[in-house]
Amino acid sequence: MSGFPVQIMPQDDATVAEKQLALRSRLEDLKQVWPWVNALAAEYAFPADTRFAIDLCLEEGLSNIIRHGYAGDPDHTIAVTFSVNDLTGLTFTILDNAPHFAPDLSSAQELTPASIEQVKPGSLGIHLMKKFASTLTYEQLPNGNRLTIGFPVPALEQADSLRCGN
């Protein structure tokens, strides 16, 4: 397995929690994501719609890295970091050490297929991420890529109580 030093984002005053999930670059490892998101959802009281959106964006982002970034090579690592921040909301950061790529993360364009034959099955992943995430940013790192996916914070009171240790 080719590893890389996991980069922990420095926490600012508004960040109240940070959790990580380490995966290998194989599709079967995606089975770990849903229970992890469910546990986070239970802990931080995400609404069901937010949980669905997180689940969707992580599946699309991670499967793209596994299938395209690592081209199916199963022996690499991927780190997913979750943080809650009063100012920026819920943030999931995906770090990999795959070759650089350049996803088009501009605003989602409306798809207007004129017929069922015009739809390209399997090409909708990034489009769905743009639709379901509130923010989506990509950065090239010296040895990999960082994809950051944001969602609105579901309940500020919950974050406040966590930071106060209640």
């Binding site: 599709l27 079967e28 995606l30 089975k31 849903w34 069901a48 719609d49 669905f52 959106a53 689940d55 969707l56 599946e59 699309e60 499967s63 989602a108 409306e110 798809l111 207007t112 297929p113 004129a114 017929s115 069922i116 034959e117 015009q118 739809v119 099955p121 399997g122 090409s123 909708l124 992943g125 489009h127 769905l128 639709k131 379901f132």
Partner: protein, 111 residues
């Protein structure tokens, strides 16, 4: 991910999906979906029990739907949950494959 079928009046095949249509769920039903699509011309895809739909799950619906359409048939999506429907509408799939929440109106598409 579970898949079952039911024959309805008028030669309609009801394909009942149950579970998460994620990458794993899509892989579990792809082959059967394609086989069913190869032998029916009126396919009602029942999404009531589908709790998650990602792009690979969409593919599991679209590829069989295209096969049915190429043979002159019709596909209707029935009763998706709110977020599953949002995936369908945000991809504008609903403009080419109708979504219905009442069985009677779904079946009327095939008349």
């Amino acid at each position: 991910m579970k898949l079952s079928t039911e024959d309805l009046e008028g030669g309609v095949t009801r394909v009942i999906l149950d579970g998460r249509l994620d990458i794993e769920g899509a892989a579990a039903v792809d082959l059967r979906m394609n086989v069913i699509a190869g032998s029916c011309k009126k396919m009602l895809v029942d999404l009531q029990q589908v709790t998650f739909l990602g792009s690979m799950g969409l593919r599991s619906i679209l590829v069989p739907a295209q096969a049915v359409s190429r043979r002159g048939g019709k596909v209707v999506l029935f009763a998706p949950t709110k977020m599953v429907e949002e995936v369908l509408t945000s991809s504008n799939i609903h403009t080419i494959i109708p979504i219905h929440h009442e069985l009677s109106s779904a079946l009327a598409v095939f008349l």
